[in-house]
Amino acid sequence: MSYIELKEVVKEYGAAGEAKLRALDGINFEIEKGEFVVIVGPSGAGKTTVLNMLGGMDTITSGEIWVDGADISKYTSKQLTKYRRFDVGFVFQFYNLVPNFTALENVELANQISKNPLNAKDLMNEVGLSERLDNFPAQLSGGEQQRVSIARALAKNPKLMLCDEPTGALDYNTGKTILKLLQDMCREKGMTVIVITHNQAIAPMADRVINIKNGKVEKTAQNPSPVSIDQIEW
């Protein structure tokens, strides 16, 4: 069995009796441990919904989601919280840093709730922000904020990193550095990283590319020799 496995996952929105919107219509895919995965698809294809399901932020209507040998679709909300807390690291499109905390404190925030956290300062060092520890998010650029966000996700030492359009709000170069950082982390720490994007161009850097369209997996492709982000241009 694969590290992550989605089986016939269906997600419908809308209350009973009303016309239902089927966001996911039987998704199936597998991901192995330590892979750098890119999920691509056009807007409204259901990428974010997949991420939500995978991240334990929402429940599915039917199907199974197996992560590391457990079916999280059967989890209670409490178990889901634990799952998010200990197993998943999130990187958001809009960084979602707590504006009240300094960069370092934002990382420590995650640090605090984790079982075996990584050192916050070291992480800040790794993401290249050792100079800006005491700055508030509002004082940082978008790229810097996203790096803090990544550091925060890593701080929990998760099994799985979920990144929702991590470059969406960033310029080309900054986006590239962020993706590089993610790829490096994946390689160095052997972490499973799933990146959602509508940008087909970055697919070659992934170990596995999953194409989603209209709530269905259109195509999964394994990439035996992913290229470094530096070599990709779009």
Binding site: T81, R85, F92, Q93, N100, F101, E108, L109, I113, R152
Partner: protein, 1027 residues
Amino acid sequence: MSLFLIVFLGVAFYAGIRSCNPDMLISADTFYDQTNLADIRVMSALGITQNDVNAISRMEGVEKAVGTYSYDFICKLEDKQYVIRVMAKTDGINDIVLKSGRMPEKENECLIDDYDLNLRGYKLGGEIELFSGDDTEIGDIVSENRFVITGTFVSSAYLSMSMGTSSIGSGRVDSLLVVLPEVFQLDVFTEADILVKGAKDLMCYSDAYTDHVKNMIDRIDYISDGREKIRYQAVIQDATSQLNDAKKEYEDGKKQLEDAKKEYEDGKKKIEDAKQAVADGNVQLESARAEVAAGWAALADAKAQYEEARQQFLIEKAVAEAEINFRLSEIAYVKSFIEEHLSGKEEEIAAIKEYIYSVTGKYIDFNEYQAFIDGIVNDAYAQINEGQRQLDAAWAQISEKEAQLNQAQWQISQGEAEIAETQKQIEEGEKALKDAEKEIADGEEKLKDAEEELDKAEKEIAKIERAEWYVLNRNYLTEYSSYRSDSQRIGNIGKVFPVIFFIVAALVCLTTMTRMVDEERTVIGTLKAIGYSKGTIMRKYLLYALLATALGSVSGALVGSKILPYIILHVYKILYPNLEVLVFPYNLEHCLVAGGAALVCILAATLFACTKSLMEVPASLMRPVSPKQARKLLLERIPSVWSKIKFTWKNAFRNFVRYKKRLFMTLFGICGSTALLLVGFGLKDAINTILYAQFGEICLYDEVISIDPDATERNRIELENALDRDSRFESYLYVHETVVDAESANSDEVLSVYVLIPENVQRLDENIILMDRVTKERYELNDEEVFITEKMSHILNVKEGDTFTISVNQKDKKTLRVGRIVENYIYHYIYMTPALYEKLYGEAPDFNAITIVNRQGISIDPDEMGEEFMSYAATGGVTSIITLKEKFADILGSLDTITWVLIICAGALTFVVLYNLNNINISERRRELATLKVLGFYDIELSQYIYRENVLITIIGIALGVLGGIFLNRFVVTTVEVDIVMFGRQIFAMSFVKSILIAIAFTVIVNFIVHFKLKKIDMATSLKSVE
């Protein structure tokens, strides 16, 4: 809509409460004017004459001056005495309002005040009997002492049931009667009532009115000097002539007494004589009795002798008769012998001769012999006859003596009866004498009294001073001034509470508007992008705010300034039942102030919010509000402290600085509600303090027996003995208690207070504790100064060492110096020693009441107590403190409602403010919270994240609220309390705990709701771009 409601409430509350004070004053003024309540009253100890009244009438500026009468009497009803003030009906001044029945038409008809008809069970058509309250004959004052009640009235001079003081009875006027002026028999008026020209046009409680009247008073004072002199001379003359009459009368009386004494002496002598005669008679009678007794004894002897003599005589008679018979037979023999022997022998003759010889010794012939024998027989007969005669004589003697003795006996009994008769007469005489003696003694005593009285009268005449005119403004009417203070009290409350309410309303409006504008940023941005000018966009919001505020203000002002004064004035009508006129004019000033303030606040808020938004370029308006810049705290500059603070707390601290507006509003909400809660509970405490401190710590006595003024010394002793014997009582103390009016130069108010004088100063602390409220230090009375109660010192505005005056009905003024101010909550008291009283009034106080302390743990049923002790002649009335306590508990219980209103208001305020602000807090930080959720914060951790701030704010808010509450409570307590009571100033620890707990409870409830709101936050929002 919510804007409208909030403005409506705020303005209504503000305008309404604010209007209460003027409305109350206007109502009173209208009533005063309608009933022509006198502006000035002139009184004098010597009365006011018609000439005085005429003199005043002629003065410039006097609209009308009328002389009138009023006099206090006693009325007895069901064993209790009441003081009734009888007033003459007047026309066009101090008019009364007929409430029921009809006006009196005859001299024996009266009206009674409306309040008393129900209270004391008088009936229309019923009769009321008056008694004099002092030594004046009732007939000298009024022509009738029984009146038929024809109706009831109210008078603007007596707004409430406290009708002032009196020099008789309990010292407190209980009821009022109005009778026709003709009823009064006095030569002079007791007072003159004056209406001042132009005074009606002025508001009665205003400075303008007071000055206007003051001006008139000064002028009347000016003429009073001359009038006083005239009156003085008239009175002195009158009194002197009366005195002379009295002196004459006294002399006559003295003469009469002397005559009576003489008569008495004569009578006494006569009786003495009679007594002597009786004694003599008795002696004579005694000797007569002895004589008679001796007579009887002699008679008995005589009878015995007579009997003996008779026996002797009978024997002698028999012997003599035998002799006679023998001689007769002998002679017959001799005769026959002779006849036989005549012719016979000599010898025989000789024999006979011998025989005769032997008999007679002589030789005689027969004839001689015959004669001899006859002689013997005759002798014998004579002898017998003699004896018989002697015996008869003796008997006759005896019989006579007996008759004599019987006569004597009868005479003696006759004498005895006579003496008894005399004795009886003597006794009667003595009795009469005794009566006469007593009469004389009485007469002497009376004479002595009369003498004393004459002396006194003489002295009094000497003492008669130029009776000063008391020219008084309306303040002498206790209700007049207390009504003003009550309305001021409402005014004071109106100054604070509506403002608080208003501020809250304004703040709520401000946030509402700000949020409304914030929420519509994008709309504004779009409008701006399309090309609308700033003004046009702003106009939309301003118009909305304006409309809501204007509508709310107008309707709030209309409704509030009618309804709230209506409710409050009707509540006050309970206190002032005789206030007939209630008017609620619109008070433009307060309406405008409230409405204007609301308008300005809200428009400013809208303007502020709008301009802030409108200043931005359309593009940035399209984007969400950029999060506020977080700032480092001062605290962070101290790393040693900062690094120790827990992570999430840091966030809370930073948030404080970041969302100042919200912080302050939350703080204000919690602080305000805690303060209100504290005021609510504090008010309850204040009320409770009254009961528990007054009846538990200050007044230790349990029963009061007032002494009947007619009670004799013996009656008193009887009562004392009963109290001594009764095992239920621990101790008792005689006190003098009376009501006087007190006033001081530092205050306008005239206060009706009790003067209390213990018979035994050392033992006062068994019954009443005189101590300082704060330090609890106990004081002992001295002979130089008086102690007064705390509330009284506030009202009169006097401190220790200051002086104030007391008087009864504006007469007999005395100046007293304040020694100590003592703790007391109900009524006002002046405490002094008997010695001081004597120094002031020249006579010892009359101890007219007994305070009794029950033995520990014993409480006596008031009815039982009353029944038991009313049977003693000395008892005038019995009051149980329990009853008093219950009465006060009832009165004060009504204040509980206010407390609950405060508590509920406070609760609502906390809830609304906290809920509203938390809502804003959550919606503003939705993204942040969602992120934290995604990061894997448990629900509880997330809630705590928000709670930390709330808890901190709550703690600070409560702390500030407690502080503010203490001040607010002090303010509220002093403003709401009525004149006769002082509320406790202390808030109990329990109340702090309770208000804090309730404030916390509200916070907890709100936080609980917040918890569920947080749970519902959708994590997916964190992923979306905002909007």
